[in-house]
């Protein structure tokens, strides 16, 4: 069972039931669960959407789009059924927050999905969880069955005239499926390749019906927004960034873990105070602030508030709020190579800039890392990455290109130090053998 951590600066909203046995329905109810959905049944659709809009809640998957706004795009009338799709594919390296929600508080996801359904007039919701989360899926399936048994799900939820069904789904290993249109393809039993937009899912989505796709953390937050009230929730965060985030701090810190902190909390404090500083008395070298796809920050760039706007201003992204901390024993060429190896593996191959781009980036970085690079290889890496940006079918290409550009730009000297037959002195992965001709 993953270790739970805590720190006095935490504001526990989403994580308040972690470790409290709330995976059991009675305990969840005892801790205030399923009250928000009752309130929503009484208040109706427009009220819910306005409340969520006013809370400043923005998508926790990474894009940071206003959740209330997203819901308001769903047409009121639709010939085809509408759907709620909870994205629990959580695959961005560094990110394991939904893992804890599924483990400790599965009913919050169910309750949030019902509220989303009431907001947009959907009668069915899907909870899609990555294939590796089998034990968590089983916890979720028990929770769903319990909610049905209580009449919280089904034809007449909570004795009302409203219907809401939930279907759970397992993935089978695919980062790309975290992209919303690829997620729908996968749920329809196909290869998880992205769809062209428009039409957007809110209009034509799953099985052709209007579909709201929200990250699992976003959905789990919704009942808390309703319970606290929009204004109180918004007041916790920073301007235009309502509430808290589950910050997953990983890498070279003393106390890695998932910490719930207000939006806008200082990044430097997250590393040095909340997570206990750099482990083994080492020095900080760099920080990847929001999951593997977000551009790296240097130690003098981390005195910033962690919200969508401030991290954006610093030249990176808040993303999934997965803070990955690198110490002075990390080779940046190797780190770039490991990052791109992931995107090379996960590229679905549908569009050429991503399929070829990630492959050539991996090849070039492998050669540089092994000490067999040529001076022009460094610019080639940057050139390939820059030409992927904005030219791919879905954001996976950007996710691979953005960090790569930042690694080369900010650590160019380290790339140059690898040239002329000088293999990496800090290598953690095995170095490939090249034949010099």
């Amino acid at each position: 069972m993953p270790k739970l951590v805590s720190h006095p600066d935490e504001v526990k909203i989403i994580s308040r039931r972690f470790g409290q046995g709330a995976e059991k329905i009675d305990r969840y109810i005892e801790l205030g669960g399923y009250e928000a959905v009752k309130k929503c049944l009484a208040q109706g659709s427009d009220w819910i959407i306005n409340e969520v809009k006013a809370s400043g809640l923005r998508g926790r998957g990474g894009a940071g789009f206003s959740t209330g706004m997203k819901w308001s795009f769903v047409p009121k009338q639709s010939a085809k059924p509408k759907y709620i799709l909870v994205n629990g594919d959580e695959s961005e390296p560094g990110t394991c927050k939904d893992h804890l929600i599924f483990l400790h508080d599965p009913h919050s996801v169910i309750e949030g999905a019902i509220i989303a359904g009431l907001a947009v007039g959907a009668k069915m919701g899907f909870i899609y969880m990555r294939g590796e989360y089998r034990t968590l899926l089983e916890i979720m399936e028990r929770a769903v069955a319990d909610a049905y048994a209580r009449g919280f799900l089904g034809k007449n939820i909570f004795g009302s005239d409203k219907e809401f069904q939930i279907i759970t789904q397992t993935g089978a290993g695919a980062y790309e499926v975290g992209e919303e249109s690829a997620l729908m393809e996968s749920l329809e039993g196909k290869r998880g390749v992205p769809r062209i937009k428009p039409p957007f899912p809110a209009v034509v989505g799953l099985y052709g019906g209007p579909t709201v796709i929200n990250n699992a953390e976003t959905i789990a937050t919704v009942p808390h927004v309703i319970n606290m009230g929009a204004a109180a929730y918004a007041a916790v965060g920073s301007p235009r960034n309502g509430g808290t985030r589950l910050f997953g701090v990983s890498g070279c810190v003393e106390r890695p873990g998932v910490y719930e902190l207000p939006m806008g909390y200082n990044l430097k404090k997250i590393i040095y105070e909340v997570a206990g500083g750099i482990r083994n008395g080492r020095q900080l070298k760099a920080v990847v602030p929001g999951g593997s796809s977000t551009p790296v920050l240097l130690p003098d760039e981390i005195d910033i508030g962690m919200d969508f706007d401030q991290v954006g201003k610093a030249g990176s992204m808040l993303g999934s709020a997965a803070v990955i901390v690198l110490d002075d024993q990390t080779c940046m060429v190797e780190f770039a190579l490991r990052t791109i190896s992931f995107y090379r593996h996960e590229s679905c191959g549908w569009c050429i800039p991503c399929r070829e781009g990630t492959d050539w980036l991996k090849k070039s970085l492998t050669r540089i890392h092994a000490g067999f690079g040529e001076a022009t290889d460094i610019d080639t890496v940057r050139y390939i990455a820059e030409n992927m940006l904005g030219h791919t079918f879905c954001p996976l290409g950007d996710a691979a290109a953005m960090p790569t550009i930042a690694f080369v730009k900010k650590f160019r000297q380290e790339f140059e130090d690898h040239l002329n037959g000088k293999p990496c002195p800090l290598a953690k992965m095995g170095l490939p053998q090249f034949t010099v001709v």
Binding site: H99, G171, A172, G251, P256, H345
Partner: protein, 173 residues
């Protein structure tokens, strides 16, 4: 399920798959879970699994293969009874993921992609299992093992050997 289907699955799995096709508004949504659950029992996506799943969903075998080959957890050759998946992605790498992988290599005497001669273990280097804050982490079948150190590796392996002995079945039977 229909009488013409080939019996490659246990009665328990048959029942599970029968329920699965009725679970979704559109039958084909059952495809990926069906393949994964079949793999859990059979050990891999064999030709017989493909044929059986195609009949159950009502699509061609080619369509099944087309979808199945996209997903990295689905494999087309047998794995060991316990499939050891070592994450070496960035968060795990920073805390010694490659040392863990090396130790499994040594202990098992196989390379990633390999299966031990007795069919007990297979080894795979994987891309993130969603345990980044508890790195380095591995999954053995669906069990997570967090915050590993190389010296914990032999103990993990022997616990699975013990489990196999206690259950007494041959792999994937």
């Amino acid at each position: 399920m229909s009488a013409e289907s080939i019996s490659v699955f246990s009665p328990k799995l048959e029942a599970r798959l029968d329920a699965l096709v009725k679970k979704y508004p559109v039958k084909r949504s059952a495809l990926i879970p069906m393949l994964l659950y079949a793999q859990d029992e059979v050990g891999y996506i064999s030709d017989a699994v493909v044929a059986e799943v195609a009949i159950r969903i009502g699509i061609t075998e080619l369509e099944v293969r087309n979808a199945a080959t996209y997903y990295s957890m689905l494999r087309f050759k047998p794995a060991g009874r316990y499939h050891v998946q070592v994450c070496t992605n960035i968060s795990c790498m920073l805390r010694g993921g490659y040392e863990i992988l090396d130790r499994f290599r040594q202990e098992l005497g196989i390379e990633p992609g390999g299966v031990t001669a007795d069919g007990m273990f297979s080894l795979e280097e994987v891309q993130c299992i969603g345990a980044c804050c508890w790195a380095p982490a591995i999954q053995v079948n669906y069990d997570d093992h967090d915050e590993l150190k190389p010296d914990l590796v032999p103990g993990i392996l022997s616990s699975y050997r013990g489990k196999a002995k206690a259950e007494g079945k041959t792999p994937h039977a």
